[in-house]
Symmetry: C2
Subunit: 349 residues, 2 copies
Amino acid sequence: MDVLESYESVVASTRTRLARNFADYPFPNILLRDAHAEEQAGEIVSIVSAELKRMDAFRLYEMSNVSEETAALLQEKNLISRDLIANSPISAAIISEDESISVMVNEEDHLRVQYFMKGLDLNKAFERVSGIDDIISDTIPFAYDSEYGYLTACPTNLGTGLRASVMLFLPALSRRGVMKKTAPALSRGGLTVRGAAGEGSGTEGDFFQVSNEMTLGLSEEDILYRVQRAVETLTELEIRERMCMKAEGGISLFDEIGRSYGILLGCKKITAQELALRVADIKLGLALGYIEGERDGEKLIGELDDFMVRMRPANLKRLSGIKLDGEERDAYRAKEAAEAVKAMNLYLW
Amino acid sequence: MDVLESYESVVASTRTRLARNFADYPFPNILLRDAHAEEQAGEIVSIVSAELKRMDAFRLYEMSNVSEETAALLQEKNLISRDLIANSPISAAIISEDESISVMVNEEDHLRVQYFMKGLDLNKAFERVSGIDDIISDTIPFAYDSEYGYLTACPTNLGTGLRASVMLFLPALSRRGVMKKTAPALSRGGLTVRGAAGEGSGTEGDFFQVSNEMTLGLSEEDILYRVQRAVETLTELEIRERMCMKAEGGISLFDEIGRSYGILLGCKKITAQELALRVADIKLGLALGYIEGERDGEKLIGELDDFMVRMRPANLKRLSGIKLDGEERDAYRAKEAAEAVKAMNLYLW
């Protein structure tokens, strides 16, 4: 199998983020502490919002006016961060209609410009955030130092302010213990790899996010190149490890996957953790060819990822229309899972 | 629900057995030890076989000529016993074409006349063995004592020589710990209850066999009446316990059953023990109305019982056509289970 062709069964999504601050305004942490700075904070929101709205269909969320429920929903979709919610007296999010672009205002920095897309395209993802960056910098000057580059609230973002990250589905590397050895090597190359649910998270669902650790002393091109190379290497390793896994796993592996498939069809309650494990099994089954569907395996893997986003707590609450307690949530999740799997018309070899 | 109507979801089968010995021949254990008694043993086989063949379509299996494979198959179907196989130099089985009647010759006693039927009908089952008994006793006299009744090799069968037993599916009583308390009460009434796979067996598949312990000092009618009463009581208790189980079990019970259903559909290997547990779950699901099929639940429960007989080792070997090793057998079992469950078109509420 060509490694390039196999990205689809490994790479889930690409995300880029630029951190920027305006030269003529204090950093958000100062704005937040100073009761008289509310006006300045509001100015920043207004300026950025006006610029973006001229460009495209954006929606402004002033965090002080946003319900707890909506905030949770946006956070689950990775459109906003916990810090943005914490800064709600002065913070805002400006989100494109298709939810691919999200600009957080007055989070840790004045601006956090984010772009998200399915699949792998780091250049495109960088161009998108860079385009937004250009539009805004034409209006108000960014804090920039000729030696360090863009100035940020935290030194880890100093320089390019760029974080490029790719979400990878690495069941074979993860389950066969290869990730433990791979992470330190990536770290030496200025990259970091971590479980999907964020820093310090486990590896539920076999998702890993690769991103650049360093933003200083490297050009944007360098950063993108390094992340791209890491993704290529991990994909190649993963595909090779999947082959070994299939060859060595034999019927026990197939049985494990088949049981997860059956359990998703038959269970009447399931926790979020177990659901993630079972769905990862189905995805692995699709990737290994143990399970087939009417559509391409890669397409089905993507559909299962979308399904998992819909199953996050705030989404689940919105979907079900009512507030569910723990067991009701488990029951609702089980019902949705069975329906989703049934609708895929999967076939177990 | 009327208890009488619910027998079908509780009673699997009825079995009767008469132990008889001919007055003019030594007991089989003597025949076996005496090298010169082969002729006498052969005479018994010939006489019984000739009488039965006049009556109906019977097939004679002289155990000395029967392959190990066939013997295992007949034993799995409960048509012959381990003791009959052990006595192979002198023993034989005469089995009706529909396999409802099996007469073992020169087992522990000269004759063990057995009748097996699905469902509950102790009187019919007794009439059948009794009919065979009459035909044979017309030809040669049985060993009979006016005080003790029919004489047998082992005193536990002395008297009527009748054992009447009923196989019951008691998942609620078993899983809720009620059987442990019930067994001693039955014992005081001269009855015994034991796990399905025979003496000393566990309760895999939630099957229990109720039979009379005593054969002496009671008339045949008394024995049948006592077993019938015990079956009625256990059925009533089981139905009541199922109601409680459903009411208290809620979604956790349904989840357990649903997962077993899914696992049977999806697994790629399964041990005999796990299969028994999962199939018992499906049967319980049918009995509780958690699972429905195109046919009556009771009919499907019976079909699953038949399926389990086909999955016994010797049957499996005959079905698959080749000798399978442990893991291959688990794989074959999984394949058959998935097909059987699929063919039932079950619907999980």
